[in-house]
């Protein structure tokens, strides 16, 4: 297995009534294991669409996405869902926590979804405790999302994304709703956790300071990779 993910000839077009809006055009991209990649580009350039396709939340109109040598074109919707639960973690700009569940229930969701059971095993409890401690949320574990700060919410979202031990973590503007200082703390935390566990991380961001921390920066413009993927040292 050379790469974690391989995209070849990917295209995606949205339809708004009779109007066709191309979001991605002929994307070829390979992503290695343990890589930290930033995706940058102006609004509407297709960053989130690319992230959704890599995260197997959506299907391309054409082209092929290979994940750990599995051609995902042949996957059914339920197989894609199982793959997401086992291999991919998501962190969103809006945190996307379930408002009526406590923080610990939110964080435990991927484990419960993966096992299909109603409660956590002893091992899973240990894992939950580990991430609550690691992300400094133990004191807040019984709180509902509306009772905590934005930074704590995003830490909970990170814990939820990592608890399933994914091979890939996708973060869509994770600092967009946070102040600069908290944002940088969150990115630092994410980077450390992913590098420690050798998790591939792809982050969509508008913030060049954050983008520069990645091993590789991918720039999108009008649905195309504006240049070949290049390492951060060549940026600017």
């Amino acid at each position: 297995m050379k790469h974690l993910i391989e995209l070849s000839g990917i295209g995606k077009t949205y339809h708004l009534g009779k109007m066709r809006i191309p979001a991605l055009r002929e994307i070829d991209l390979t992503i290695g294991r343990g890589e930290f990649i930033s995706i940058i580009g102006p609004s509407g350039s297709g960053k989130s669409t690319l992230l959704h396709l890599i995260g197997l939340m959506d299907r391309p109109d054409h082209g092929r996405i290979t994940f750990e040598d599995n051609d995902t074109r042949n996957f059914t919707e339920n197989e894609l869902a199982r793959f997401r639960s086992e291999k991919i973690g998501f962190v969103f700009q809006d945190f996307n926590l379930l408002e009526d569940l406590s923080l610990e229930d939110n964080i435990a969701l991927p484990l419960l979804i993966k096992s299909g059971k109603n409660s956590l095993s002893a091992n899973e409890h240990e894992k939950l405790k580990y991430y609550l401690d690691k992300l400094d949320l133990t004191a807040r574990k019984k709180h509902k999302p509306k009772q905590i700060s934005g930074g704590q919410k995003q830490r909970a979202a990170i814990a939820r994304a990592l608890i399933g031990e994914p091979a890939l973590l996708l973060a869509d503007e994770p600092t967009g709703n946070l102040d600069q200082q908290t944002g940088h703390q969150i990115i630092g935390l994410l980077e450390n956790l992913c590098r420690d566990d050798k998790i591939t991380m792809i982050i969509v961001t508008h913030d060049h300071n954050i983008a520069e921390r990645a091993d590789r920066i991918i720039q999108l413009n009008e649905g195309r990779l504006s240049s070949h993927p290049y390492p951060k040292k060549y940026l600017g």
Binding site: S48, D58, E77, F83, S85, D100, I113, G116, N118
Partner: protein
């Protein structure tokens, strides 16, 4: 996982879910009450009809005898002869032959009830004690030979009087106790409605000693021997033949064979089974009406369930998208909503049944109060059966899930990428 997510889901559209729960509960309450009442009535009619004794009985009439009540000609022209009775007794499967006869002349009766004297023409029948089969008639009273002669009336006659004649004419209702022990004056050769020769009128006394469901509806029934003796000694018109007979066979399996043999003898034969069939036809109509009513209730509550779950799903679409992103499969998203609907169905059906049980107690009391003088009535109007209630619960869950199927599929098909991009 499901329990927490279902509890989480319940918080969406709580008012509408409560409405669905209330509508389903009321629907199930009505369905339970009506079906248990229907069941109670069926039990009453069919158990009465299906008693093993009745299933071993045939009613035999001579060919050509169409009416029991024949005031004008006084006696049906065709009658069962003693020879025929002997022939019937000779059939190996026949256990008992219980013939009835009637007085050979016109008669009217006077009875004093609740301070009023009622006088009407009436047929007088004769029946053996074995036919009465009623605990209200004691064998020793039935065997009396002297005046006042023992007489029984049909239990159905009391009901007919109370719930049609008395109700229509604003007369007081009577109870069996009002009748029991009452003296009846019988005037043989006299009619209340047309002129008769007064010189031939004979006055007799009888006393009501009980009730029986097996005697003729209109008229007084006296012991068979008494009627024979009156025909011979008082009216001087002896009658050898019988009006009809009840034939009892060894077992219900013998019924068809004996019926065929009796019909070959030229007799008209009816069985309890045939009466039951007409009753079944009547109940199939009530079943149909109830089923239509139930279908309307189910359709209305079903539409409410569908619209509520569509609203819930619209409200929770972002959460569904998050769960799908985290790996919840389409099947499990569907299952989540089907489980929720099933739980609502379960809770509503259990509440509906509990309410029906609670409502049935005062309703049973009220019905019994209003029909307290009715002799032929079920011991229990609302009959709850465990398997029937279980079926209702399963049915309620099934219906809730059926009407949630489309909204649940819609939830499962939501595109998480599109929703989270909003």
């Amino acid at each position: 996982m499901y329990s927490k997510l279902i509890i989480n889901n319940w918080k969406a559209q709580p008012g509408k879910i409560l409405l669905v729960y209330a509508a389903l509960t009321i629907g199930l309450l009505l369905i339970t009450l009506l079906s248990t009442l229907n069941h109670g009535l069926k039990n009453f009619f069919f158990q009465e009809g299906q008693q093993s004794k009745l299933l071993r009985e045939l009613s035999v009439k001579p060919a050509g005898a169409k009416l029991d009540l024949n005031i004008v000609s006084l006696l049906p022209q065709a009658q069962l002869t003693p020879t025929m009775i002997e022939k019937i007794k000779a059939i190996p499967e026949v256990v008992e032959v219980l013939p009835t006869n009637t007085i050979n002349g016109i008669s009217s009766v006077q009875i004093s009830l609740l301070g009023q004297i009622f006088q009407t023409d009436s047929l007088l029948y004769g029946a053996p004690y074995e036919l009465l089969d009623s605990p209200t008639v004691q064998p020793q009273t039935w065997s009396q030979n002297d005046e006042p002669y023992p007489a029984v009336i049909s239990t159905k006659l009391v009901d007919l009087y109370n719930y049609s004649f008395a109700a229509a004419n604003n007369l007081p209702q009577v109870t069996p106790e009002n009748f029991l022990g009452s003296e009846v004056t019988i005037l043989l050769n006299k009619s209340t409605f047309f002129d008769t020769d007064t010189s031939t009128v004979k006055q007799l006394k009888a006393r009501i000693v009980g009730f029986s469901p097996n005697v003729k509806l209109l008229g007084l029934t006296l012991p068979l021997e008494t009627i024979n003796r009156l025909n011979q000694n008082v009216l001087n018109k002896p009658v050898q033949n019988f009006l009809d007979a009840t034939v009892r066979v060894q077992s219900p399996e013998d019924l068809t064979k004996v019926k065929n043999q009796l019909e070959e003898m030229g007799l008209n034969v009816t069985t309890a089974e045939e009466s039951l069939k007409s009753l079944e036809r009547l109940f199939s109509l009530t079943d149909l009406a109830l089923n239509i009513f139930f279908a309307i209730i189910i359709l209305l509550t079903g539409l409410l369930i569908s619209s509520t779950f569509l609203a819930k799903i619209a409200e929770k679409s972002r959460e569904i998208a998050i769960l799908k992103t985290l790996g919840l499969s389409q099947n499990r998203v569907s299952l989540l909503y089907l489980l929720e609907a099933g739980l609502v169905g379960l809770a509503a059906s259990v509440s509906g049944i509990i309410l029906a049980l609670l409502f049935a107690i005062p309703l049973e009391f009220l019905i019994n109060q209003s029909l307290q003088n009715l002799l032929n009535k079920p011991e229990q109007f609302f009959v709850f059966q465990f398997d029937q209630l279980l079926l209702l619960i399963i049915f309620s869950i099934f219906i809730s899930c059926c009407f949630t199927f489309f909204p649940a599929r819609k939830a499962a098909k939501l595109d998480p990428a599109e929703i989270l991009a909003r």
